[in-house]
């Protein structure tokens, strides 16, 4: 029952099928909508708000909203671009992001969005919140300074019985990611790698693997994130 749907993005006529979220439907039509907490194949959370678009005059997250017939979607308007920048800037000032010293620099999706938006400095004051580093696990290095609380690790990293290895702890500004110590002890190499892969920033690293790719050859060193999500030739 996946019906064909017609919609517009910034006045451009588009088509897709009704089983898609807006962000996927846009991609099919060559339109990049920035995302951060979203991860392909996993139930969307809509928590970072970077993918906010305007549909029929309402702000909605493109990662959680199914596409529907007749939608008039605004993506690249000035106010929406400013909101997206604001979210990225908030994350840079909320955590302690020392890019020059981070193993993930160049492979980091938060940084990639800031590069794409060419953010020169955040408008918000740096908060320098007290965060900590947990290096007690034999495989995983968990640096809360860099965590952006996107929930990807919570949603993706499950053991063979389906239990969550990561979970939230606390709420509001005290919220943080808790790494289950018991499941952490028996974490397989495969799951550890998975955790590092899903983390968009350098918060979850597999020990000894942080510099696997030399700087200069990393994902976003030469190519903006939108061109990776939608390679040039596919762009209409």
């Amino acid at each position: 029952m996946n019906n064909k749907v017609n919609f517009t993005i910034d006045d451009k006529e588009c088509t897709s099928t009704s089983d898609k979220y807006i962000v996927e439907a846009a991609r099919e039509n060559g339109v990049y909508i920035p995302t951060l907490c979203n991860y392909d194949g996993v139930k969307p959370a809509g928590s970072c708000r970077v993918c906010t678009v305007k549909v029929n005059k309402r702000y909605l997250t493109a990662c959680t909203t199914p596409i529907a017939e007749g939608m008039e979607i605004e993506v690249n308007t000035t106010d929406l671009q400013d909101f997206r920048n604001a979210v990225v800037e908030l994350l840079f000032t909320e955590g302690n992001h020392f890019c020059p010293a981070c193993e993930k620099s160049g492979n980091c999706e938060l940084q990639a969005l800031a590069y794409k938006f060419q953010i020169m400095a955040p408008r918000f004051p740096f908060q320098f919140n007290e965060r900590y580093i947990d290096a007690s696990n034999p495989k995983i290095y968990h640096d809360h300074n860099r965590c952006i609380l996107c929930k990807r690790c919570i949603r993706v990293v499950k053991d063979d019985k389906g239990k969550s290895v990561f979970a939230f702890e606390n709420r509001a500004r005290q919220i943080r990611i808790n790494f289950d110590s018991k499941l952490g002890e028996v974490l397989t190499d495969e799951l550890a790698e998975k955790a590092m892969e899903v983390c968009p920033v350098g918060s979850i690293l597999v020990k000894g693997k942080g510099f696997k790719d030399p700087i200069g050859t990393r994902k976003f060193d030469h190519t903006p994130i939108d061109k990776i999500v939608i390679p040039e030739k596919q762009n209409i």
Binding site: F92, N96, F98, C99, P100, A101, C102, S105, G106, Q111, A114, Y115, K116, Q118, M120, A121, P122, P125, F126, F128, N129, E130, R131, I215, D221, H222, T223, P224
Partner: protein, 181 residues
């Protein structure tokens, strides 16, 4: 208009941003034609001798001397630019920002494993600048007009922006010049 005057300084920084500035290579010859330098390690002028048009600040503020110099730059320069991560967000010196300054000083002068200080002498000479509780980004001390990120900012970024400022033209920055590492 007469040649714009540029001043530069490094506060709590490593001079890496200044090194990157020199990395504009032969374009420095063009720059010399376009501008005049005043207070700057590049020409070794130690004190302002006149009002300037552009001030480039490397490094954040970790002590009272940094604050003093930054405020002096703000007074003397029409346009003030943070260049480099340290000026913009404190940079690596700001790694201490979630640790109390007492703990930092104790580690450096008393408890550190490589510390040899039997008399437990602490740096308290009146001549020394006083240490701030944290490293402050420049724009959290004075108004900064522009920010050039990077550790260091790419030479091309510094050149593109200065060139545009001096000539009063618009600038479209290539993807690869705006980096934070």
């Amino acid at each position: 208009m007469s040649r714009p005057i540029i001043a530069t300084t490094s506060l709590a920084g490593c001079f890496g941003c200044h090194m990157s500035f020199l990395d504009i290579d032969e374009r420095i010859l063009d720059l010399i034609e376009l501008v005049e330098f005043n207070k700057s390690p590049i020409d070794d002028i130690k004190t302002f001798t006149k009002d300037c048009d552009i001030g480039l600040i490397e490094g954040g503020c970790c002590n009272t001397e940094n604050i003093h110099i930054l405020k002096e730059f703000r007074k003397k320069c029409k346009i003030l630019i943070s260049f480099g991560e340290c000026a913009i967000m404190g940079g690596l010196p700001a790694l201490r920002n979630d640790i109390s300054v007492k703990e930092c000083l104790a580690e450096a002068y008393l408890d550190g494993i490589s510390t040899v200080n039997k008399e437990e002498i602490l740096p308290n000479d009146e001549e020394l600048p006083m240490i701030l509780n944290k490293v402050y980004p420049c724009h959290e001390v004075v108004k900064m007009d522009y920010h050039l990120p990077g550790c260091p900012p790419r030479a091309d970024l510094i050149w593109d922006v200065l060139h545009a400022l001096i000539l009063g033209t618009d600038v479209e920055l290539p993807y690869e010049v705006v980096k934070y590492d």
